[in-house]
Amino acid sequence: MRVIIECYGASARWCGSDLITLDLSVGATGNDALDALAALYPDFAARRDSVAIATGDAITSPTLPLDDGDVIALIPPVSAG
């Protein structure tokens, strides 16, 4: 199955792109997507544990399974204010 990753903030620098398409096995979770990104992008791998994921307008648990066509946002450490 295929999911789309939106890279917010510095995560776009770590992954070299704002938008990434990942091919994952059926039943893959958010953690599996993060693992796949970490394998592809060393700069992301170094920050993997500080990154949350969101779907729609909510933070999502990375242990939940994804569906084909899901759009997942990478939320790196925030610096609002």
Binding site: Y8, G9, A10, R13, S50, V51, A52, A54, G56, D57, A58, I59, A73, I75, P76, P77, V78, S79, A80, G81
Partner: protein, 149 residues
């Protein structure tokens, strides 16, 4: 509830403080506490020329409203917040917190808690522009749920 409460809390460009002070003071309130964050010309020894604010707009808007509601419930005050997105110059306002409450103790506490929570729970990222031409995202903190703060 005033008209301003129906506007988005995330705004394009620098905030104008006066826009966020138009609500009337409630008759039972004796304190108005306001915090505004502005762009500084220096960060960790580097000369800064401006700041870009990036956001996950949907989640940031939801989180700003969630923080307003949480602060109102926690401190029994009226709360209004706003945050800028886009490129801001030195001295321009990136974030505003307005608290209207009975007495100054809870107004100050609510104001401090609200800005501290915005900084840890809202998906916004600062990208500093340095005088030497470099651009860099600031280090941040892993995003926290509002209810944990």
């Amino acid at each position: 509830m005033s008209a301003i409460k129906s506007l988005p809390r995330l705004r394009n460009g620098a905030l104008n403080l006066a826009d966020w002070l138009v609500e009337a003071q409630p008759a039972d309130a004796g304190a108005l506490a306001v915090f505004a964050g502005t762009v500084r010309n220096e960060h960790l020894g580097n000369a800064v020329s401006g700041m870009s604010y990036h956001a996950h707009r949907g989640l940031a808007e939801a989180r700003l409203r969630e923080i307003e509601a949480a602060a109102e419930a926690r401190f029994k005050v009226h709360v209004l917040v706003a945050h800028a997105v886009g490129v801001l110059a030195i001295g321009e306002i990136s974030v505003v917190v307005v608290i209207r409450g009975g007495h100054r103790a809870e107004a100050f506490e609510a104001c401090r808690w609200t800005i501290d929570t915005i900084k840890q729970a809202v998906p916004i990222w600062k990208e500093e522009h340095y005088v030497d031409g470099a651009v860099r995202f600031l280090e941040g903190v892993p995003i926290q749920p509002v209810e944990s703060l």
